[in-house]
């Protein structure tokens, strides 16, 4: 596995370096690089980043040139890809997966004139910004719907990699499912990958066989939807992209990532020379997190309630982590009326009370 990816990226990078180096004239379009963790047609996470990147290019026309590398493994290979992009003349590089964090920071230290934007991470530098979306706001809406729609009171959750972002999503969904349905239980499967359709299908199958009739996923393929469709009365949610081809059933809603406005902003900032290292974390209100249409399989009153929740989060009237809340071990997490601050959320590594099981470390 490692070897073939290594060969592939190595060959591409070498080619890119040979061809791309002489193109560094002043009036040439600004090169903007994107490093993706999956293929650009994965139907989810990477596809939406790429889609947003193309929207950004459409916005600027001839002024920018898009350089991208798909299916880059998280780890040392990423550093090579990033270095090559820098040598190729990219002025701004977006690295769009959590595992690219250290490679991004390492390469950024060697190329102080190149600006970096790392998605979903937390390490910044003078030329490294981080950006992420408050997916947990969308998870709250999903949890609300899941709590209403389950009849077996068992909700399955296909979790990917044990990082705070994923844990936050599980907690947020669970809190809001319990709120509308005190009997609801979550069954969580970690598959340790962002995209592995066969494993996702197997995980969905296992959850459904154990009586889950709503399956949430934090993985990027539509395989769980297909498994749910075959099983019949099981509901699912689109992840990262709308996955509307499975609507109205099993897919009853979705979280959509919309990065385009941010990408346009940041490219503009580099062009204007106003780019600064920032830590951006936007949610439903800013449009970075979209809630896909709640389908006709959902009763009207449930739909209205979920939409009201969405709107109150967007307006900033309600925070998905509002006390009283306890941690899994029973200790207090938030007092009555208290809301979680961003620092707590960024490093969240515990389940809230009521979720069974342990977070893999």
């Amino acid at each position: 596995m490692k070897r073939r990816t290594l060969l592939k990226t190595g060959a591409t990078a070498a080619f890119a370096a040979a061809v791309g180096a002489p193109l560094r004239a002043q009036d040439a379009p600004m090169k903007v690089g994107f490093v993706y963790v999956g293929p650009i047609n994965d139907g989810g996470w990477t596809q939406h980043h790429h889609h947003s990147a193309k929207e950004m290019v459409d916005h600027f026309g001839d002024q920018v040139e898009l350089v991208y590398q798909e299916s880059v493994p998280e780890g040392p290979d990423a550093e090579r890809v990033l270095t090559q992009m820098c040598l190729q003349g990219c002025k701004l590089i977006f690295t769009t997966s959590f595992g690219f964090m250290d490679p991004t920071v390492n390469v950024a230290a060697q190329f102080p004139d190149v600006m970096f934007e790392h998605a979903t991470g937390y390490k910044t530098a003078p030329n490294v910004s981080v950006y992420s979306a408050r997916f947990y706001e969308g998870r709250a809406v999903q949890g609300n719907l899941a709590g209403h729609m389950t009849r077996s009171n068992r909700v399955g959750y296909i979790a990917s990699v044990p990082i705070p972002e994923v844990v936050r999503g599980i907690n947020s969904a669970f809190i809001h499912a319990r709120e509308v349905n005190p009997d609801v239980e979550f069954k969580i499967i970690w598959i340790f990958e962002w995209l592995n359709p066969a494993k996702e299908a197997d995980a969905a199958q296992a959850l459904i066989e154990q009586g889950c009739d709503v399956v949430l996923q934090h993985t990027d393929s539509t395989a769980p939807h297909a498994a749910a469709q075959e099983a019949g009365d099981v509901y699912t949610f689109g992840q990262a992209s709308d996955m509307a081809e499975f609507a109205p059933k099993p897919r009853i809603s979705s979280i959509i990532d919309n990065w385009a406005p941010y990408y346009i902003d940041r490219v503009q900032a580099v062009m204007d020379g106003t780019w600064e290292s920032v830590n951006t974390w936007q949610g439903i209100g800013d449009g970075m997190v979209g809630i896909g249409e709640i389908s006709s399989a959902v009763p009207d009153d449930v739909k209205a309630e979920a939409e009201a929740l969405r709107d109150s989060i967007a307006a900033g009237e309600y925070h998905p982590f509002t006390g009283p809340l306890s941690k899994q071990d029973g200790t207090q997490f938030l007092a009555e009326g208290e809301t979680a601050d961003d620092e707590t959320l960024v490093g969240m590594n515990f389940y809230v009370e009521g979720i069974e099981g342990e977070i893999p470390s």
């Binding site: 069954k187 340790f192 066969a198 296992a206 009586g211 297909a226 893999p360």
Partner: protein, 304 residues
């Protein structure tokens, strides 16, 4: 923890489905290696089969034709390998690895217009009478045709290798190609046949993932299944019976660990995740591996 949530019958039924892609691919590779050729391109042929399966089934609207197209795709790719290694005498290890790289790229290209399309449904065969048996019916007799085809192929390969003259000749070629050549057997021709059978099987295995298991096309969707198939061939000692055991064990523990996670078993998830690999290796090693074919991986040239 709630182990009662796991229904053993459903678990065993999912095991058969989860194991089928690896079983098919490994079976093909077993025949290839018994003929003395090491083809490390299984992953590439599987993913090409997965892409071809989607393309043919979507265009024709028939899942069976999709599988036929997948077998053809895998076969053509392995034909390339056969020409390179058997006629042009290239190094088998390097060519096999290159075949995997090539297959991954080719499949991404072929599948470009098919991302997100759903293939036609592949019907399950409810075998009359047998599917109504109390326990076995639910476990073993309510699957789709490919599951049975996989099992049938294991039996057929076993019979071919151990009970037919042609199988004996194929093994002779694998054990000592110079001796087989001296006896007048067409070593290169036989190896061509074996390699292409292996390619077709890998294609079928890949298509089972894209047409039944997932079912949808995503780049790189086989996610290393080909390498597992390769490993199972070695650990099974190049014997079809053990290969079936190995593939079912791997598929079974994979499904079981997901079920145990969902049931909230108090074992750290990391151990559960590695369990399929560990269990398969331990069991197949304990069974004492067979001897590898004598000419495995060696280049054959008639003049030497």
């Amino acid at each position: 923890m709630d182990l009662t949530a796991i229904d053993p019958l459903l678990l065993l039924a999912s095991l058969m489905v989860a194991s089928t892609p690896i079983l098919l691919a490994a079976l093909g590779e077993l025949v290839v290696e018994r003929a003395g050729v090491l083809n490390l391109g299984v992953e590439g042929m599987m993913i090409t089969g997965a892409a071809c399966g989607i393309i043919f089934s979507t265009l024709t609207g028939n899942a069976w034709l999709g599988f036929a197209g997948a077998a053809l795709g895998g076969l053509l790719l392995s034909f390339l390998f056969a020409v390179l290694t058997q006629l042009l005498l290239s190094n088998q290890v390097a060519t096999g690895l290159a075949l995997t790289l090539f297959g991954l790229g080719l499949s991404a290209l072929l599948g470009q217009g098919f991302a997100g399309t759903r293939p036609p449904a592949f019907p399950k065969l409810d075998i009359p009478l047998l599917s109504n048996l109390p326990v076995m019916g639910q476990i073993a007799f309510r699957h789709d045709g490919m599951v049975y085809l996989g099992l049938g192929l294991v039996a057929a390969v076993w019979y071919f290798l151990t009970r037919t003259r042609a199988g004996l000749v194929l093994r002779a070629v694998g054990e000592n190609h110079d001796a087989a050549h001296a006896l007048g057997y067409p070593v290169v021709l036989i190896r061509f046949g074996a390699i292409m059978f292996g390619g077709a099987c890998a294609g079928l295995g890949g298509a089972y993932i894209s047409l039944v298991r997932v079912p949808q096309w995503t780049e790189g969707m086989t996610a290393g299944a080909g390498w597992i198939a390769l490993a199972i061939v070695v650990f099974a000692g190049w014997k079809p019976g053990r290969l079936l055991l190995g593939a079912y064990l791997f598929g079974g523990v994979t499904v079981l660990q997901l079920n145990l996670q969902a049931a909230g078993l108090a074992i750290p998830v990391e151990y559960l995740s590695m369990s399929p690999y560990v269990a398969t290796i331990i069991v197949l090693v304990v069974l004492a591996a067979g001897r590898k074919p004598g000419s495995l991986g060696q280049t054959f040239h008639a003049s030497r």
